[in-house]
């Protein structure tokens, strides 16, 4: 597939009035962000979301019973995680991603051949006999498996912010009229980090504690050009607080297949929440909305306590709080790059969201990457709740 980027060019007969001097017009933001107010021609919306969860589950009690040392950590009380889904034989990052992409298409009005860009954004890339696949990119295999023959494909890596980063990229291409439909997909077979951590963890303050919160899931989101006047993505912004880039690191393990992750969780949450407040304010201003008018805040799912503390701080400093804060840790745990879309999918399936609801997706990832999206729920909600 090919993509033009001709200034003022005509793409598929549609007018493409990209304003070349936008860089002069846009005010400076801490975040790199795009919104309808920043001048592009086309709107953009989430058309469908898909999820694939492994059938097997593992409770926190079962996981902690397998630690090599007696830890006395009350993980469920601290994090709110009762259980998480874990991959079984024959399942890996690739199968989860393909399953999620197919589920996304099953909820979509598009066919796979409509997808013009496919981005795989998982941290884990297990496929076949490999614990981490490098080349060819996982996205190429996913594209083949679902039949998205016309899609430009590549992988990106941005820790737990990967899927939202992919959506940011798709939004940019769609708003400029270069493509009309794209998919971001992620398959996270990441629970093995918990097993590796269980062999070493001794105390509550272990840097591997966060590994015990991880669960497996695949998620996919299909983003399309929004017809005029139809609600969609209001704004997406991203920034990297790189002075804290070493607060969470993951490397291949010598204890078992896959990786080990070392996180200074408390410091990470503290600095992220501190810096997130002005970033939130920036994005809310750009979308011209008050935090109190956000119907659902879907934050990255790490621990119920951290989410509660963070939202309380937002409320204290911004003088308002969202109407609902989505926490699904009890049944899924932290599914890394897929958390936001697993939560969005669940709320769509359960018809908790209605047309016109304003949703804020809040990504927090090692780097430290902070991504914020505000969107308005539209007709996509009609496709959920009947098939499952």
């Amino acid at each position: 597939m090919s993509v033009n980027a001709v200034p003022g060019g005509d793409v598929r007969g549609r007018r493409m009035t990209v304003t070349e001097s936008q860089s002069e017009q846009q005010p400076a933001h801490w975040m790199v962000l795009e919104s309808p107010g920043s001048g592009a021609t086309w709107g953009c919306r989430i058309e469908s979301v898909g999820v694939r969860l492994p059938a097997a589950t593992l409770t926190t009690r079962e996981l902690l019973s397998k630690t090599r040392h007696r830890t006395r950590i009350q993980l469920e009380r601290l994090t709110g995680i009762h259980e998480r889904h874990v991959v079984g034989p024959g399942e890996n990052s690739f199968t989860l991603a393909v399953g999620a992409a197919r589920d996304c298409l099953a909820h979509s009005g598009h066919r796979a051949s409509d997808i013009e860009m496919l981005i795989s954004s998982s941290i884990t890339r297990s496929k076949g006999g490999m614990s981490q696949h490098f080349e060819p990119p996982l996205s190429l295999g996913i594209k083949q498996a679902i039949g998205a023959a016309n899609a430009v494909s590549f992988d990106l890596s941005n820790a737990c912010a990967g899927m939202l980063t992919g959506m940011f990229i798709l939004q940019d291409f769609i708003r400029r009229g270069e493509i009309r439909c794209g998919m971001v997909v992620s398959g996270e077979s990441i629970s093995h980090l918990g097993w590796n951590a269980a062999k070493q963890i001794r105390f509550l303050f272990s840097k591997q504690l966060a590994s015990l919160t991880l669960g497996d899931a695949g998620a996919a989101v299909l983003v399309e050009q929004a017809p005029e006047g139809v609600p969609g993505i209001d704004v997406i912004g991203f920034t990297t607080l790189a002075e804290h880039s070493r607060l969470c690191l993951a490397f291949p393990s010598t204890l078992g297949p896959g990786a080990q992750m070392y996180t200074k969780s408390r410091t990470l949450h503290k600095v992220a929440i501190e810096d997130m407040v002005p970033l939130l304010a920036d994005v809310l201003t750009q979308a011209d909305i008050d935090l109190g008018n956000i119907d659902y805040l879907i934050p990255h799912q790490t621990s119920a306590r951290a989410i509660s503390k963070g939202t309380a701080e937002f409320a204290r400093r911004l003088g308002a709080k969202p109407k609902h804060v989505v926490v699904n840790l009890a049944e899924y745990g932290n599914t890394s790059s897929t958390t936001l879309f697993v939560a969005l999918h669940k709320y769509l399936e359960e018809h908790r969201m209605r047309k016109g609801d304003r949703v804020m997706l809040l990504s927090l990832a090692s780097g430290i990457e902070i991504g914020i999206a505000i969107l308005t729920i539209g007709s996509e909600v009609d496709r959920y709740g009947r098939t499952h």
Binding site: S2, V3, N4, A5, V6, P7, V11, V18, E20, S21, Q22, S23, E24, Q25, A28, H29, W30, M31, V32, L33, E34, S38, K127, S131, H133, F134, E135, P136, P137, L140, K143, A149, V152, S153, F154, L156, S157, N158, A159, C160, I169, D172, E178, T239, T240, L241, A242, E243, S245, F251, P252, T254, L255, G256, G258, M261, S366, G367, I368, E369
Partner: protein
């Protein structure tokens, strides 16, 4: 008006110390910014397109560590300035062209003013590094917006999945043999690189096909390409590509000898040679071509033609 190449830098590792991907990328990024006279704080977007690292770190994105190393907006940027957003793109040897496409898009929409693309590849682990088809190198490419030229105008990425098994790489768990001792590692994630004979020649075949389709779509002939910037520089690929496309040797950007084994840095190394020789500045139409695992072929057209003198309109098409 388009995305313009502000500066390039490609480095080979000549140190006696063990090559490290981050160190090579840092050095290339700093040299690139120095050449452009751009402050690190002016970088709005930083994309790492390198693949192979000594530690195969899974997270964070290497780009975030590089952002910290080069001191690009570590904390709250000064009033009136943007912060920096960093992430990694993984598309093998085609990753640089994918990253150029992304940066070009964000420049065009006005979300950013400067985008820095960095690359580096080093031997993944001491074990299993036999047959690694590259040498440790790092590169950086700075893109900005120029009102005076068309810049990067068209991209084309095509895949040939029927050849997907010709080059495969990844980590595979290998259990340590013998008795387990308490403090001894149970095993390690061994790097596996499987490159089948004839891979580069097949890449060249695919690149020729994709290039012809791309030029047809643009309504251009190969004679209108003043400069070809290919990657990789492997003779099996490059010579076949050049001969079959009918491009004279003086219109090809060959990398220097010490960069001949560059992997994801290959495209940047070739651009740098062309930039230093002046051929990049003189060429009205420069075609970047990269081909690697997948098989994926990526092409980018860089035009130093004033926007008002743009040739025939490009039309998008599906493969």
């Amino acid at each position: 008006m388009g995305a313009h190449i502000d500066a390039t830098c490609a480095l080979a590792d000549h140190s006696l110390r063990k090559a490290r991907a981050r160190r090579l990328a840092d050095a290339a990024a700093q040299a690139c910014l120095g050449r452009a006279g751009t402050e690190p704080g002016d970088i709005d977007m930083l994309i790492n397109a390198g693949i192979y690292r000594e530690d195969s770190m899974g997270e964070p994105a290497l780009a975030a560590l590089i952002q910290e190393d080069i001191h690009a907006n570590l904390g709250h940027p000064p009033v009136g300035r943007n912060g920096t957003f960093s992430f990694d793109v993984a598309n093998g040897i085609c990753g640089v062209i994918s990253a150029i496409q992304l940066v070009t898009g964000f420049l065009r929409s006005g979300a950013i003013k400067h985008g820095l693309i960095v690359t580096s590849d080093v031997y993944p682990t001491p074990r299993g590094s036999r047959g690694v088809p590259f040498q440790p190198t790092g590169g950086a490419l700075l893109l900005g917006w120029d009102d005076g030229i068309a810049g990067f105008t068209d991209f084309h990425i095509e895949t040939f999945p029927e050849y997907g098994e010709l080059f495969v790489s990844g980590l595979a768990w290998q259990r340590r043999r013998g008795h387990r001792l308490p403090l001894r590692a149970a095993g390690y994630n061994r790097m596996v690189l499987d490159s089948k004979p004839g891979f580069q020649a097949r890449c060249a075949d695919c690149a020729v096909e994709a290039t012809r389709r791309f030029l047809d779509r643009l309504g251009m002939s190969i004679d209108e390409i003043d400069l070809l910037v290919p990657a990789p520089a492997a003779p099996d690929f490059l010579d076949t590509l050049r001969v079959r496309l009918g491009v004279p040797g003086d219109r090809v950007a060959y990398t220097t000898e010490d960069m001949a084994g560059a992997y994801t840095t290959g495209s940047i190394a070739a651009l740098e040679v062309a930039s230093k020789s002046g051929s990049l500045g003189e060429a009205r139409n420069t075609l970047m071509v990269a081909a690697g695992a997948g098989i994926t072929v990526a092409l980018a057209l860089y035009r130093q033609t004033p926007p008002g003198e743009m040739p025939r309109r490009s039309r998008r098409s599906h493969q």
